[in-house]
């Protein structure tokens, strides 16, 4: 069991036990054991990030519950995406980035030497801001991750491709055209293909970095529907600039803020989404949500 309550260094957390929304067991078919329910939960303790000498995030502590949607909101440059990239160690790819504090996934430290970032990324998938399908067919795009994991059997791959495309709500549109080049899809379809591609490795968590910001309203709607459909089976952490989107799709919301360029960003408040958008504890959260800045 991972405790939802965190005791950390100087990172103070102010949310009650009620704020952690565990998915109701009856919401899922064939509910697995209680332990399985907790797969895909993150605990962050006093996390800080620095690009070279520039400290961009400091003292972030939070609990990201499993099988729920957690939204990270805040003005541009408040470190939401940077924090997101800590969760699958994609910051490692950038070089010259130092991450401090502790991050655990289901109780296991993900920042230590014991955790191979390549293995971590199979458990924690990511969907990027701009759709980035690989220049190959739809089928090959989805089978890409499983193949990396060593799955070679055609029938098994076929099954995974179908399952993942269904999970991303794209199956009905492409089932007769799996050999089509991914670039022939529309932007919204490409993004759902990227979600399917991330699902194919059977991750416990999917990170989404403004997945709908490059899409039209109808495609955005489809992505949001997909997220709603997915959250029973996978933990979703989403960065978004769109407050209505956060309010619509997330169970929990975390508000981050960089008060000035001289100081690093920090977590202002994190709570149930309903509470954050109706009755936030912090005055800054309220002014951001009501559109007074940011």
């Amino acid at each position: 069991m991972v405790s939802p309550l965190l005791v950390t260094g100087d990172g103070t957390l102010s949310y009650g036990a009620g704020s952690v929304t565990l998915p109701r067991a009856d919401a899922r078919e064939g509910a697995a054991s209680k332990a399985a329910d907790l797969q895909g939960s993150f605990s962050l303790a006093d996390v800080s990030v620095a690009y070279g000498r520039d400290r961009v995030i400091e003292g972030v502590s939070m609990y990201i519950p499993p099988r729920a949607v957690t939204a990270l909101i805040g003005p541009s440059g408040c470190g939401k995406s940077t924090l997101l990239r800590c969760l699958n160690r994609m910051n490692d790819e950038l070089g010259n980035v130092h991450v401090g504090g502790t991050i655990t996934l289901d109780g296991a430290d993900i920042m230590g030497r014991a955790m191979d970032p390549v293995e971590l990324r199979m458990r924690v998938g990511q969907v990027f801001q701009r759709p980035n399908p690989f220049p190959m067919t739809i089928w090959d795009n989805v089978a890409y991750g499983p193949r990396t994991q060593g799955i070679r059997k055609r029938s098994e791959l076929d099954e995974l491709v179908e399952e993942s495309l269904k999970g991303a709500a794209l199956w009905a549109e492409v089932k007769n055209n799996l050999k089509k080049h991914a670039f022939e899809l529309s932007g919204g379809q490409q993004q759902r293909l990227c979600i399917a591609r991330a699902l194919a490795t059977k991750p416990e968590v999917i990170l989404m970095d403004e997945p709908a910001s490059a899409l039209d309203p109808i495609s955005t709607q489809q992505i949001e529907d997909t997220i709603a459909q997915l959250k029973d089976s996978v933990t979703i952490v989403i960065v978004t600039h769109n407050m209505q989107q956060a309010a619509r799709i997330s169970d929990q919301t975390a508000f981050m803020l960089r008060e000035s360029l001289d100081e690093p960003a920090h977590l202002v408040e994190m709570d149930e989404t309903r509470k954050m958008f109706t009755n936030p504890d912090d005055a800054r959260t309220e002014s951001y949500i009501t559109g007074r800045f940011g």
């Binding site: 699958n88 994609m90 790819e93 390549v118 293995e119 971590l120 990324r121 199979m122 998938g125 990511q126 990027f128 701009r130 980035n132 399908p133 690989f134 220049p135 190959m136 890409y144 991750g145 990396t148 994991q149 670039f183 990227c194 591609r197 991330a198 490795t201």
Partner: protein, 308 residues
């Protein structure tokens, strides 16, 4: 006393002169742009014009399929096939040398090296391209000819392999820099997407980046090939220049370029031999033109692919 020109009048005057100046500048720029095409067309016409007599008297098919090159016997025999095969042998060996080394180096520079190493490597490669071919030839004579002779226990080290290896080394900068451009053009998002799916740098390179850049790398190889087949001085120094049909790459060959360079000084201007050498040049021109055209079309396709 003259009245100063009105404001609007002055502006009108300036506009007219400016318009005239613009027209002149535009004409000059257009002419410069068209110049490349005009020169290329002129070369083609010039080659055809001068090889007219050879085609007429020796016959195009006889020249292209003939295996005997005795231009100074009487009557002269102008079978170009040994020269064409010689060029192909040398170029083939050059490709075997330059493609693996060039592509691997491009992958290293683009995907694995740090910023400092990258900059240093790129300038060294540019320098490699600036070394005159005769210097490569000298090094080949001093080092490679004895080495090839001993390594393959041959009578002579002056073979197609010797020339091919040096040509390969000379083509490496072309292959590296154009392959590196192609790899660089692959969007970073694709690499990130692959990394986020739990792929190592190597897996990403082989499964996503290289396939995505494949058409650009193909074009790089074609341009390297174009450079190798047109090179003259180094092959003249290294291949032994025997104009007979070679049985293998371990024999002495004479290339098309080497033939033109070696024989042009001794022919009678306007004579049949003179015209035949132009025909050789025309064949060479056609081959390199074709190679460059294919490379260009492939590069253009790649550019379109990422413009979305």
């Amino acid at each position: 006393m003259t009245t100063p020109p009105t404001h609007s009048g002055r502006r009108l005057g300036r506009t007219t002169t400016r318009r005239a100046a613009e027209a002149v500048v535009r004409a000059i720029i257009y002419l410069c742009g068209w110049m490349a095409i005009i020169i290329l067309a002129a070369i083609a016409v010039f080659l055809m014009w001068n090889s007219f007599r050879a085609v007429n008297e020796a016959g195009l098919f006889t020249m292209l399929s003939g295996t005997a090159w005795y231009p100074t016997s009487s009557p002269g025999k102008f079978g170009m096939l040994p020269l064409i095969v010689g060029s192909l042998y040398v170029t083939g060996v050059a490709l075997v040398v330059c493609v693996p080394v060039g592509v691997a180096a491009a992958v290293f520079i683009s995907e694995f090296s740090g910023r400092l190493v990258k900059e240093v490597m790129k300038s060294i490669i540019e320098f490699m391209a600036a070394v005159p071919s005769v210097v490569y030839g000298l090094i080949g004579v001093a080092v490679l000819i004895p080495f090839v002779k001993d390594a393959f226990s041959l009578m002579s080290g002056m073979t197609a392999v010797t020339g091919g290896i040096v040509l390969g080394i000379m083509s490496i900068p072309t292959v590296i820099s154009i392959s590196e451009d192609a790899l660089h053009a692959v969007p970073e998002e694709l690499r990130q997407g692959s990394a986020a799916l739990g792929n190592t740098r190597w897996q990403t390179t082989f499964k996503v980046t290289l396939p995505a850049a494949s058409s650009g790398i193909f074009a790089a190889v074609m341009l390297g090939l174009g450079r190798a087949i047109g090179e003259t001085m180094a092959v003249l120094m290294l291949t032994g220049n025997a104009a007979v049909m070679p049985a293998s790459v371990f024999e002495s060959v004479r290339t098309m370029t080497g033939t033109i360079a070696a024989e042009m000084g001794e022919v009678v201007q306007g004579g049949l031999h003179y015209s035949v050498l132009f025909a050789v040049g025309l064949v060479l021109f056609t081959i390199t033109f074709g190679i460059n055209l294919v490379a260009d079309l492939v590069l253009e396709r790649q550019r379109k692919r990422w413009r979305r």
